[in-house]
């Protein structure tokens, strides 16, 4: 089935337009009505080093990039050396002709031609896009349009440059890879972009964050688009300010969200626990990278699962959910906003670099987004912590003639501090009761995704779901993929039926946290656990082989 997938890889130094070229390539495919998945691999540096983008496209659904590429453009020697092994059968390796050495493939004078104009570095990415256009048989007119919308700065130079490259490459590779077109036009968004829109759809008012890869682009998106959406973005002095400001805003009635990666989140734990006590509906977007500590900032991992589930000291209900694909990230973000407001407790949208910073063609049905109107107090004396049956007290926002007291100390129903043993126990129970209300609510919700109907059972979650689904296509494997969307509370009621079944777990963690979670909380029996923890997402072909191995061992 891989046959119908076409993969383009472009590699070069950071600062040479590689990422941009990758995203233009993705758009180019999408404009052909094809499905696209784009993964950007970049280091924690600003210029130099080695960046690459892989864009895989198919005329059917595609949920992962492929390592094996049909067309590679290497902008520098390092890219050539690192990626020559990635060239598929009948693939074409193109490299900048200034690269020296004994090279196989076709040299194109990307740099030499660029040097004829000012700021040559700004052209290189366009050069790579141009050869791609040539290879897939795009005509000059369409390419020109693409350049107009994607490379509008120095437009004339760009068109002139691209034309030269086009003409040089055409005789060699013109139309080598003609791809099916279709009329279906889909948007392409990265995970962070779509989380931003999902939050917007869910009613977000204010976003607080301090930059941290791979979460920063969520802030950047909201900062850029916020004005249109009526969303305010604040980037304060540190993550502790982030979470405490957000809680202040929530008190005043604003739907507020914060975002970070593991290290920044660690700093928010005290605030997270505060939200638990105040019963503040705080939504946090935690984008993971390999840890512990600073770890590997620009790569991907699922090592924060337990950390997320057990955020914050003391006992209070926590909600943790993780989207299994970029599309789902849209709905789930709005749903999580709904849930935290419904149950007035903090929640975490747990995701990974591989989702937040990869891009995909999408089909979003905006009406399916949730947009919860909080339970409000109307008339009568107000008690912030009314000891209601379901543990949930109505909200009221200032200004009001009523007294609205949110309190980090244990408190009575009005919100005044207490040290009284009966009241302490009562309030612990009240908060604990919300867990039950939450469980009951979730039992009527879609909490587990299931793909496929027969064959071996594969459990996975988060962005790894995208890899697994593509691996099944790549390896032509008939299997059932079970992906719990919610991780806390884990929807054990949906998982019961798998109790005595053989199952394979796939996750990006060294300790196998997800497999343990399934074992411990749902009493499942992960026979084999396929793990990857080198910061790179799975390649679907390799993963397919591992799955097949696991199946035959199992």
């Amino acid at each position: 089935m891989t046959g119908e997938v076409f993969t383009f890889l472009i590699g070069g130094k950071a600062g040479e337009g590689v990422k941009k070229a990758g995203s233009v390539a993705a758009r180019l495919f999408a404009s052909m009505g094809r499905e696209v998945f784009e993964m950007d691999d970049y280091q924690s540096l600003i210029r130099g080093g080695h960046n690459f983008s892989v864009i895989s496209t198919a005329s059917r659904k595609i949920t992962s990039h492929y390592t094996r590429a049909n067309l590679i453009v290497a902008m520098d020697k390092r890219s050539y050396e690192l990626h020559k092994q990635d060239l598929g059968e009948d693939g074409i390796m193109l490299y900048d002709s200034e690269i020296k050495g004994d090279l196989k493939g076709l040299g194109i004078p990307l740099r030499a031609e660029a040097k004829k104009y000012p700021n040559p570095d700004l052209r290189l990415g366009l050069g790579a896009v141009t050869v791609l256009a040539v290879a897939v048989g795009m005509d000059k007119e369409s390419l020109k349009k693409l350049i107009q919308s994607e490379y509008p700065r120095d437009l004339d130079i760009n068109i002139a440059y691209a034309t030269t490259i086009y003409d040089m490459a055409s005789p060699e590779i013109g139309g080598k890879f003609r791809l099916n077109n279709s009329d279906k036009k889909r948007v392409i968004y990265s995970g962070n972009e779509i989380i931003a829109l999902g939050a917007a759809a869910g009613g977000l008012d204010i976003y607080y964050a301090y930059p941290m890869t791979p979460s920063s682009s969520l802030m950047h998106t909201l900062a850029a688009q916020g004005e249109k959406l009526g969303i305010i973005v604040v980037h304060p002095e540190n993550e502790i300010a982030v979470v405490n400001m957000a809680i202040g805003s929530i008190f005043a009635g604003a739907k507020s969200m914060v975002g970070s990666s593991g290290g920044g989140f660690a700093l928010m734990q005290e605030g997270f626990s505060l939200a638990g006590m105040l019963e503040a509906p705080l939504l946090c977007c935690l984008a993971s990278r390999p840890g512990p500590s600073t770890g590997v900032p620009t790569y991907t991992a699922q090592g924060d699962l337990n950390f997320a589930i057990h955020q914050g000291h003391g006992e209070f209900p926590r909600i943790v959910a993780s989207p299994g694909c970029i599309e789902e990230a849209f709905y789930l973000t709005s749903e999580m906003l709904d849930l935290v407001w419904r149950f007035q407790t903090p929640g975490i949208l747990l995701t990974e670099k591989h989702l937040t910073e990869s891009s995909m063609t999408l089909d979003i049905h905006i009406n399916k987004a949730e947009h919860f109107q909080p339970l409000m107090h109307y008339g009568g004396e107000y008690k912030r912590y009314l000891d209601s049956k379901d543990g949930i007290a109505p909200l009221l926002f200032p200004p009001s003639d009523e007294l609205i007291k949110w309190n980090s100390y244990e408190h009575d129903e009005t919100g005044i501090t207490t040290e009284n043993p009966e009241l302490i126990a009562k309030m612990q129970e009240k908060r604990n009761r919300k867990k039950i209300s939450l469980l009951n609510h979730l039992k009527n919700k879609h909490t587990v995704n299931i793909y496929g109907e027969r064959g071996p059972l594969i459990f996975t979650y988060g962005s790894t779901t995208m890899s697994v689904r593509e691996a099944l296509r790549a390896g032509d494997i008939d299997a059932t993929v079970v992906q719990p969307i919610y991780l806390e509370p884990l929807p054990v009621w949906e998982l019961e039926k798998y109790k005595d079944k053989e199952l394979i777990v796939v996750e990006q963690s060294c300790a196998g946290q997800f497999a343990l979670l399934l074992k411990e909380k749902a009493e499942l029996n992960p026979g084999s656990v396929i793990k990857k923890y080198d910061g790179r997402p799975f390649d679907p072909v390799e993963l397919a082989i591992e799955i097949k191995k696991a199946v035959s061992n199992g």
Binding site: L197, A254, K405, G415
Partner: protein
């Protein structure tokens, strides 16, 4: 004035300077009400410490926050609904130990909140450890042989951090304190009131302050004069030490918008998103 007081039992030590702050604050609220600035729009936050207990005693809405964060919480409230006036109560350990970053940045960005510092030179509630404002040599249970650090100067630090309103008061000069607090709350922008608040149990400074505190009879002409007053040691002037008008944070952020009261309608929002989602 009792309508400003809740049913919570007051557990400050008899003679504690915090009583003066409570009284002065209530009077200031009254004064502001008389001017038409109703207490309905007034919300409070507090840190953790003896000072924080004022949250329970005051019949005003707000958040009893965590140690060191009341000014971050306060800023968040203001950003969400700039129609509210927000007062953050803070201890000296709270504001200049745990939470010093928030103080400096609240001043730097001219957040339109008021911070009232219960400056007792000690960690009261945790039984008397030295605080960032304690004098060198202060003996507390974490420094039984005397603290070895020089104190910070809250006024000077806030001036350095660009606070637009900096004042000092003393619970031993109650009417004056009421006046200072009132002016601080009236100020548009970040206002900071450093209140000398003797802790009778762990740092009884009444005598020292009674000797040294003097009421300023003018507002200093400029920043430099303010700074030199802030740094005086023989005398401890109280009053408004610095005041200047500058654009406030929330207006710089979004002009006349109000995230809570002027929300985009759901329909408009969805229409915008749809536009984005249809663009390729």
């Amino acid at each position: 004035m009792d309508e400003l007081i809740t049913y919570a039992e007051n557990t400050w030590c008899p003679g504690c300077g915090n009583f003066g702050i409570l009284t002065a604050f209530k009077k200031a609220v009254k004064k502001l009400e008389d001017e038409g600035r109703g207490k309905k729009d007034l919300v409070i936050t507090a840190g953790i410490g003896c000072h924080g207990k004022i949250f329970d005693y005051l019949k005003l809405s707000g958040i009893y926050s965590i140690h060191g964060r009341s000014m971050a919480t306060a800023q968040g409230i203001k950003i969400a609904n700039p129609g509210l006036r927000v007062v953050a109560f803070a201890g000296d350990g709270d504001a200049f130990g745990e939470g010093i970053a928030h103080m400096i940045f609240a001043a730097k960005r001219n957040s339109d909140i008021t911070v009232i510092l219960h400056d007792n030179g000690v960690y009261g509630l945790t039984t008397g450890q030295y605080a960032p404002t304690s004098v060198k040599g202060f003996k507390g249970p974490s420094t039984p042989r005397g603290s070895i650090e020089e104190p910070l100067n809250p006024l000077a630090l806030m001036l350095e951090a660009r606070a637009t309103f900096v004042a000092r008061g003393y619970v031993g000069k109650l009417d004056h304190l009421v006046d200072v607090i009132t002016k601080a709350i009236r100020h548009q922008g970040f206002s900071f009131v450093d209140i000398f608040q003797p802790c009778v149990t762990f740092n009884n400074t009444y005598k020292r302050y009674n000797e040294k505190v003097e009421i300023l009879n003018h507002i200093p002409a400029d920043y430099d004069e303010a700074m030199s007053i802030a740094k005086m040691e023989d005398k401890l002037p109280v009053g408004v030490i610095y005041r200047v008008e500058k654009p406030v944070f929330h207006k710089e952020l979004y002009g006349d918008f109000n995230p809570v009261l002027k929300k985009l309608s759901k329909e408009k929002r969805i229409a915008e998103i749809k536009k984005m989602l249809s663009a390729l």
